[in-house]
Amino acid sequence: MKKVLLLVLSLALALTLSACKTDDDGEEVVFNWNIGADPATLDPGLNGASDGGDVINNTFEGLVREINGEVLPGIAESWSTSSDGLTVTFNLRESNWSDGTPLTADDFVYSWLRAMDPTTASEYSWIWHYTNVVGAEDFVNGDGTKEDVGISAPDDYTFVVELLNPTDYFVSLMAFYHFMPVNQDAVEAGPDGTWAKDPEIYVSNGAFKLDSYSIGDGLVLVKNEEYWNVEEVGIDRIDAKFIDDESTAYTAFNAGDLDYIPSVPTAEVPILIAESDEFYVFPLLGTYYYSFNMDADGDGVNEGFAEDGLWSNRKLRTALNYAIDRDAITEALGAGQVSAGGFVPPGFMDHEGNDFFETAGTYGLVTDDGNFDEAVSLFADAASELGMSVSELQTALESEELLYNTSEGHQFVAQMVQESWQQVLGFTMPLANQDWAIFQDTRSQGDFSVARGGWLTDFMDPSGLLGIFKSDNSYNDPNYYNSEFDTLLTEASTTTDTATHFEKLYEAQEVFMTDFPIIPVYHYTDTMLVSDDLVGWGRSVLGTVDFTRATINRSE
């Protein structure tokens, strides 16, 4: 009897379990995502931050979509560039907004002009400078009108862009959130981007649309049935949280509450790299560096010791560059960072299909301790050029200051640099730190000796990195003024020939790395922890995450 009962029970159990399984298959596919901080805005035209960008990349669709370096058709089915490289024509597909109304080329004209318009006050509008779109930069700066911007919609499904110069990266740049279309009715119904956080008036055109938003807590996205490529969307609902404490998010991930977290506690990185197949490290297109202030008197010219102080001496700047063991720093950081050999990080392909970083070499900048002897002899030369003894120069450097914005990570790197200089060149430069916002002011006012810098580019061309050190660029923190460098970059951006473009960029980096206005330290990486259950997710080379083609396979 007991045996029969047991049999019946186990049969019943088996039936219940299989019934559950069928239930599971019919259930909606839910993905649990930690965005990090609560994004300041979710409006493509207003956003300027990566957390907002991650959401927008999944809720809106631009002309093209870039996943893992591959540029795929988005709202543009196809595109063509005129033979002189100055006109790009996008052929749009017939598609709808999430409210079912048709999306046309006029929507792109509206969205772009809105993003450029100074009264919209879009933080990222400076990027129009790099698009080379005719009239765009003037309009952004208030020097031109929207009528003079070279964009047009000859018919509902053709969008034409006029460029000032041929721009190889132009089409791939169109995958960036700033260039995604917004719906005029929605935008006008909820000013200042409030429409993008209000499900009642929210309209998007991407794989997902906003279902709910709660300040500081999280948001819910649901599949947008009007999305042109909805068949490929595998996730029905995204439950997104704003957990900005890394260790809380990490615990929640391990407890199975989250499928994707954008960062992990630094202390966990080495173990995760060694042991976890759910931990990912990607190169980020950016560089961590220190700027020497080369224009101490602030007159806009790089002069000699009398006017601009110690950092006027090229040999001294070179010696300080050579005296740092970058491999030791990246090893200690341990999150896959690449020791810098120049300013342009790995990941940019030149006209011959070679990686710019590899081809450029390291300009005598050995990334380990192999250049220490050279550093010592350059240091001695620098001292005599400056009319000092070596010990006088050491003393002089001890009254300079290595400045960074307050953070444990920056402090750590600064300490390693300080120690390298102490061991190799025999001086201890004091460290100083400032609150982030104060630091930004100090640095842009040139009120520093040596200051930390970091730059991540927004488009696939080395000019976006080297360009920040042109004389007139507002990010030129070292106050580096070299007309030869400026000319090379201008030539690179105005040439119609791709080969010339890259040759000029190589030459420009050569000039830059001979002058050493900065100390490149390492190239950034992006790390994330992603559940094995999430499959088919992607990432743009610029670092934006993409779930539009992903799905969840829950392993029991």
């Binding site: 300041a40 981007g193 809380t248 615990t251 929640a252 407890a255 104060i438 002011d441 507002s474």
Partner: protein
């Protein structure tokens, strides 16, 4: 009595006015602004932003505009959360912060005071030593350590409570303990020492000599006086707890107000810094007033208008 409340209200308004004024000008002195970015905003856009938020007006004009808004409880727009006002943000943060804050305050009072009394009555026994040991631990271990340990152990390893948020009753356990740990310990120590002091006083000895039962001596005569310093501490503490803890809310990922205190300063979100400061100040003043009323209830000799003998 009525004139007393009028006086208190006027002085409260004056205090808030002073705090608002000082904070307003101090914020403008520190370098950096709400639109400071790693990638600088073009000048034309910056001008447009400053114009939009009236930040291009002379400082005194901005100050008067702000004060005018304040009178009507309009705390202005947030410069960081585009399209949201400070009122929106505070209102969004209140439910979560108040829920854990109220529970924590309650826990502090119903655990801290009785434990302190027991410890005083059993002074220099094993119970007393144990309680005081725990209390010392509670005072010295910072809340972020308590919070992190709770999450790691009970949420991560044992899976008894959720790892984040406030979506189930169990989720309250972690933040409430982390939030109240310090104050429970402090209140129990305070109650104990105050109780011991009162028990040694003449009137208690007299009461005992008159043959009043021990229970009556303790609860009717001793406790009332012993609670005065405790009430003094509890008032401002409740104000602090109910306006949110940056650390506890961050670690447990609770969508409350606590985070605004620190983030808004880092973001130079002037109006949010102002709003939170004023909100906290107002709360604090109200709690101090309640404490004063509490005194008069506990000890009728203490009179609110200050004419009685304290």
């Amino acid at each position: 009595m009525g004139s007393y409340y009028i006086k208190r209200t006027l002085s409260a308004i004056f205090t808030i006015f002073l705090i608002a004024t000082i904070t307003f000008f101090m914020l403008r002195i520190i370098p950096g602004g709400p639109f400071t970015r790693e990638k600088k905003i073009p000048d034309s856009i910056l001008e447009s932003l400053n114009e939009k938020y009236n930040l291009d007006a002379p400082l005194y004009e901005q100050y008067f505009d702000y004060m005018k808004g304040l009178v009507t409880f309009d705390l202005g727009p947030s410069y960081r959360n585009l399209g949201f006002t400070v009122n929106d943000m505070i209102l969004a943060g209140i439910p979560a912060t108040f829920k854990i804050g109220a529970l924590a305050s309650l826990l502090i009072i119903i655990v801290g005071i009785p434990v302190g009394i027991v410890s005083a009555l059993k002074s220099n026994t094993a119970i007393d030593y144990f309680v005081m040991f725990m209390a010392t631990l509670g005072v010295t271990v910072p809340s972020f350590v308590i919070a992190t340990v709770i999450i790691y152990l009970f949420a991560g390893q044992l899976g008894w409570i959720p790892t984040n948020g406030l979506n189930s009753p169990l989720a309250y356990i972690g933040p409430v303990i982390a939030l109240s740990g310090y104050s429970i310990s402090f209140v129990s120590r305070l109650t104990r020492s105050s109780m011991l002091e009162v028990l040694r006083q003449d009137y208690v000895r007299t009461a005992r000599a008159n043959g009043i039962s021990e229970g009556k001596v303790i609860f009717k005569h001793a406790l009332k006086n012993a609670l005065i310093p405790v009430v003094t501490y509890v008032g401002p503490m409740v104000a602090a707890i109910l306006t949110g803890s940056f650390v506890v809310e961050k670690i447990f990922a609770i969508p409350g107000m606590g985070g605004y205190f620190v983030e808004s300063v880092n973001n130079r979100d002037y109006t949010v810094v102002m709003g939170m400061t004023i909100f906290y100040a107002a709360f604090y003043i109200v709690m101090v007033l309640l404490v004063d009323i509490g005194y008069s209830l506990i000890d009728p000799r203490i009179r609110l208008d200050g004419r009685g003998s304290r």
